[in-house]
């Protein structure tokens, strides 16, 4: 069985209006029994990652966001939101989830299927 033949179902969830998340901030969602952190830039880009940092389970949605990065509120480890990779620190990478913004400004997120860690993205 070749790798390319491996397929897994990923499920799309509708998180509702982007305005549920304050501009430039994050928000924790509970999706299908799983906590994820969803971030919105001031320019309305959206990212989704695992909810808690690999270091001490800090809630990343409470972190400060900017330049496509988030700073963990507990110990200031920085992560790239697109790839989940740590930025100038040795922490493990964050799991990231595919997101999309619909034309009517709803946020969609895909759970399951291809979730990436670090450099994958």
């Amino acid at each position: 069985m070749s790798a390319a033949a491996l397929r897994r179902e990923s499920v799309q969830f509708d998180l509702g209006s982007i305005d549920r998340i304050p501009p430039g901030e994050g928000q924790t969602f509970l999706v299908d029994g799983r906590e994820i952190a969803v971030f919105r830039s001031r320019e309305d880009e959206v990212w989704a990652t695992q909810a808690r940092c690999p270091h001490k389970a800090g809630l990343l949605a409470d972190g400060i966001v900017g330049d496509g990065q988030v700073i963990c509120p507990l110990h200031s480890y920085k992560f790239d939101l697109g790839s989940g990779a740590p930025v100038r620190n040795e922490c493990a990478s964050l799991r990231t989830y595919r997101t999309e913004i619909t034309t009517d400004r709803r946020v969609l997120v895909w759970i399951g299927g291809r979730e990436t860690w670090g450099a994958d993205a």
Binding site: A3, A4, L6, R7, R8, E9, S10, V11, Q12, F13, D14, L15, G16, R20, I21, P22, P23, G24, E25, Q27, T28, F29, L30, V31, D32, E35, S41, R42, R52, K56, A57, G58, L59, D62, G63, I64, V65, G66, D67, Q69, V70, I71, P73, L74, H75, S76, K78, R88, N89, E90, R106, L108, V109, W110, G113, R114
Partner: protein, 835 residues
């Protein structure tokens, strides 16, 4: 196996090198020889009369004191010899050397032929011919010991439980080390010394007397000018008898009356022996080109050496010669210097202890109460000798001057007291790699060095890479020192170190004027105009703080620029919950308030109710979405236990009730806290008022503190700290009313708001600006800025709104949302390919 192979392949060129002595010098010599490829030239055979491999004799006192384990002392275990193809006859004493036949004979009958012979026989403890050394036989009496070998050490440790009082004969370095060991093991210890001061080989008389005083404070009893004549006791030691007729009862005696080179073997072999085995600059014994001597047994240019450094130098020179690496290497003698601890006291000694002629200059400094003595001997502008006792901080610098003969500064005091800098940096240099530098994040010196080698060559990148300095920050000076040590030439100045925030390339002053000129009222506007649109997340909170200070009510408050604490007006905890700390002005509350707090704590099942250090009550472990309801029910304003702002004003009971109080500190504290509550500042401000100089509320170690003194006056302290950093505040001024305390408090706060770096606490800010300058600006109004400062702080006071009002009107529907749910699940499914 290896040995057999070697023998098989030993060509006609290979020579047999026999080393008599497997001590620190003999073994070091063989190591150095092999490191220089000497294994290709020689089959090496060693004799050692102790049954072990090679060990570090210097650590024997540590074993005796119980601070070191036996394993710590091994330098080369027996396997090392095997692995390196060295034949070691351990526990075999050499009984004779036949130079005609070129044979060495061991006490087990073994004969080893040699082509080259090295004496490294070392020295033995000298036991003076006292009466009563032995009991019935020839062995030393029970309880009487020399202190030289591991075996001596073992036997002493074994004997200690049977003894209560020990006398050490000999107040030299080794004797004092033995005394330390016995003291550590709980014995009463006497040191009996023949001379008029201790350690006369290393110290001059004043230093010796100072050392004596220090030792006596530790509990050692020192007897000087005391000649021991007899060991008392029939079978075992019962005391010492002295030439002056006095006696000292004791049940254990350690003889440490100096060492004597082991020369008997060389003498029997017909070599030239004076005090030691005489050697030339080639380290060769005159008259026999095949025989050499190194170490404590060797006498070079009339000099015997007992410290390890010169002896290792000899080992190296001989290895250079014999391995053929530097066939004409010579040993020209050593300038003796040493840095060590005597009974835990730092000591560094080099060169001459005393001036040699009247032109020599002697510089001394003595501070008996701290056991410190320093002495320099200077000749022709060069350092010829030094003694540093009790504080060897200047030793590295002096050693350099001594070894290299560098010109000394005209101001000799610089040599003795250039310590503040030199001491701390050499302190770092001396630390092992495993030493923890950052105690918050557990970062070792080794980890820092590895990060520097990995390219982190600025303080900021090093801190980021390792987390060092990112906790309380107190270790940053040490991190900087490690950086300087490890980076050397590749050390780079970090331009962003001067920026107010890393993401906007401007200093605070430049940034403030750019913000004012361009009318930038929001953080995003600053990024857009001054940072090329890059929204560096690490810079947002600092910019928010500054813009609020500049614009007050006109500040365009973008909430995403705030740290989470300032978004939800509570302090985030490690599990993502928060704390609720209502304002209790000046720590003065009422029964009704307490009842409400208790009710709220109970209703919301608050996991912990805690009295804080700032005289308030902390409800800990609260979910984000519970915060607004709790605030409403408390009906009290926010205590700001979370933000970079005025936090609290701690008070003591003051003149209202306290029988010592000379000022009404509670009323003043309440007034201060009411006026300045919630004012944002570059870093947090903790205040206190004290009703008398007893200072029960610790006002002198607060960012701002007011202390009442007799006569209705208040001292105003600024820049104090008692956290990770401890500093007593400086007195800004003394005033005669509450109103004036309030005035100067506000004026200082506003100046601090405008001029401090982001997160710079007052304990750094005040010394940076200087208290004199602050007095001239804020008290004397030298630059005429006071009226503006007073007006600006008044504006900030007027602009203040209790953030807990947001319980009623949140700024965003999700402001206090804990976790949200999707609105639609499984709206669509897709298949993803997995790589």
């Amino acid at each position: 196996m290896k040995q057999v192979e070697k023998d098989l392949f030993a060509g006609p060129d290979r020579q047999r090198l026999v080393v008599i002595g497997n001590g620190m010098v003999g073994a070091r010599f063989v190591e150095e020889l092999l490191a220089r490829g000497g294994g290709d030239r020689y089959d090496v055979v060693m004799f050692g009369d102790e049954p072990t491999g090679n060990y570090n004799r210097i650590l024997l006192s540590g074993i005796l004191a119980g601070t070191h384990e036996l394993e710590d002392t091994y330098i080369n275990p027996l396997e090392w010899y095997e692995r390196n193809g060295v034949t070691l006859h351990a526990g075999v004493r050499v009984t004779s050397v036949d130079r005609e036949q070129q044979l060495v004979r061991g006490d087990n009958g073994l004969l080893e032929p040699y082509d080259v012979l090295v004496f490294a026989t070392g020295s033995s403890a000298f036991v003076p011919p006292l009466k009563g050394l032995s009991g019935h036989g020839t062995e030393l009496k029970d309880g009487l010991f020399a202190f030289r070998t591991l075996n001596d050490c073992d036997r002493m440790i074994e004997y200690v439980p049977r003894a209560r009082t020990a006398a050490v004969i000999g107040g030299g370095l080794l004797g004092l080390e033995a005394a330390r060991g016995l003291l550590e093991r709980g014995l009463e210890v006497h040191v009996v010394h023949l001379r008029s001061h201790l350690m006369e080989m290393q110290l001059d008389a004043p230093a010796g007397h100072l050392l004596r005083a220090t030792l006596e404070q530790m509990g050692v009893k020192v007897h000087l000018d005391k000649m021991t004549s007899e060991v008392l006791g029939a079978e075992r030691v019962e005391g010492l008898g002295f030439a002056d007729g006095s006696t000292l009862p004791c049940d254990m005696v350690v003889v440490s009356a100096g060492i004597r080179p082991n020369v008997a073997l060389a003498l029997d072999a017909g070599l030239m022996v004076e005090r030691g085995i005489v050697v030339t600059d080639e380290l060769r014994c005159p008259g026999d080109p095949r025989v050499y001597a190194i170490g404590e047994c060797a006498q070079h240019r009339g000099q015997l050496y007992g410290l390890v450094a010169p002896l290792w130098e000899q080992a190296k020179v001989l290895a250079d010669r014999l391995a053929g690496r530097i066939p004409d290497a010579v040993y020209a003698g050593s300038r003796v210097s040493t840095k060590l601890k005597v009974m835990g006291i730092d000591l560094a000694v080099m060169g001459d202890q005393e001036p040699k002629d009247t032109n020599d200059e002697v510089v001394t400094y003595s501070e008996p109460s701290r056991g410190i003595y320093k002495k320099l001997v200077v000749r022709d502008g060069l350092l010829r000798g030094a003694i540093l006792l009790g504080d060897a901080g200047a030793a590295p610098m002096l050693l350099q001057a001594f070894d290299r003969g560098t010109e000394l500064p005209d101001n000799r005091a610089e040599l003795l007291f250039q310590l503040a800098v030199a001491e701390s940096s050499t302190g770092i240099a001396d630390l092992p790699a495993s030493a923890q530098i950052c105690n918050c994040n557990g970062v070792s010196k080794g980890a820092l060095i590895a990060a520097v080698e990995g390219g982190a060559c600025t303080l900021k990148s090093l801190c980021e890479a390792t987390r060092a300095g990112l906790g309380c920050g107190a270790c940053k000076p040490q991190v900087q020192q490690v950086l300087e040590l490890a980076a050397g030439d590749s050390l780079r100045e970090d331009p962003s170190a001067h920026y107010y925030v890393p993401g906007v390339p401007l200093t605070k002053a430049e940034l403030v004027s750019a913000v004012r000129e361009r009318g930038l009222r929001s953080v995003s506007a600053v990024f857009a105009q001054l940072a090329g649109g890059q929204q560096d997340p690490s810079s947002k909170a600092g910019l928010a703080s500054l813009l609020r200070t500049i614009w007050g009510k006109e500040y365009d408050d973008e909430r995403d620029a705030r740290f989470i604490n300032d978004r939800v007006h509570a302090n985030v905890q490690k599990d993502g919950t928060f704390t609720v700390v209502p304002r209790i002005f000046g720590g003065v509350t009422t029964a009704a308030e307490l009842r409400r707090i208790a009710d709220v704590a109970e209703k919301y099942a608050v996991p912990m109710v805690k009295i804080t250090g700032g005289q308030r009550i902390d409800l800990v472990g609260v979910r984000k979405d519970e915060l607004p309801a709790m605030w409403r029910e408390l009906g009290m304003p926010s205590g700001h236990a979370y933000t970079k702002s005025f936090r609290t004003c701690k008070t003591c009971i003051g003149s209202e009730f306290c029988r010592y109080g000379v000022g009404d500190s509670t009323t003043l504290g309440v007034q201060i806290e009411r006026r300045y509550q919630g004012i944002e500042t570059p870093a947090k401000l903790k205040l206190a008022t004290a009703g008398c100089p007893r200072n029960c509320s610790e006002a002198t170690t607060k960012d701002i503190g007011a202390v009442a003194i007799e006569g209705g006056r208040w001292e105003i302290y600024v820049g104090g700290a008692a956290g990770g950093h401890v500093r007593k505040g400086d007195i800004l001024t003394v005033v005669d009313s509450h109103d004036k305390v309030l005035l100067y408090t506000g004026r200082f706060m506003q100046y601090y708001r405008e001029h401090a770096k982001y997160l710079e606490r007052t304990y750094d800010f005040v010394p940076r600006i200087g208290i004199e300058k602050l007095r001239s600006l804020l008290v004397d109004d030298a630059e005429g800025i006071c009226a503006q400062l007073d007006a600006d702080i008044q504006a900030a006071v007027d602009a203040y709104v209790d953030p807990w009002q947001e319980a009623v009107e949140p700024v965003h529907p999700s402001q206090f949302a804990d976790t949200l749910q999707p609105v639609g699940a499984a709206a669509g499914a897709s298949w993803e390919e997995i790589r």
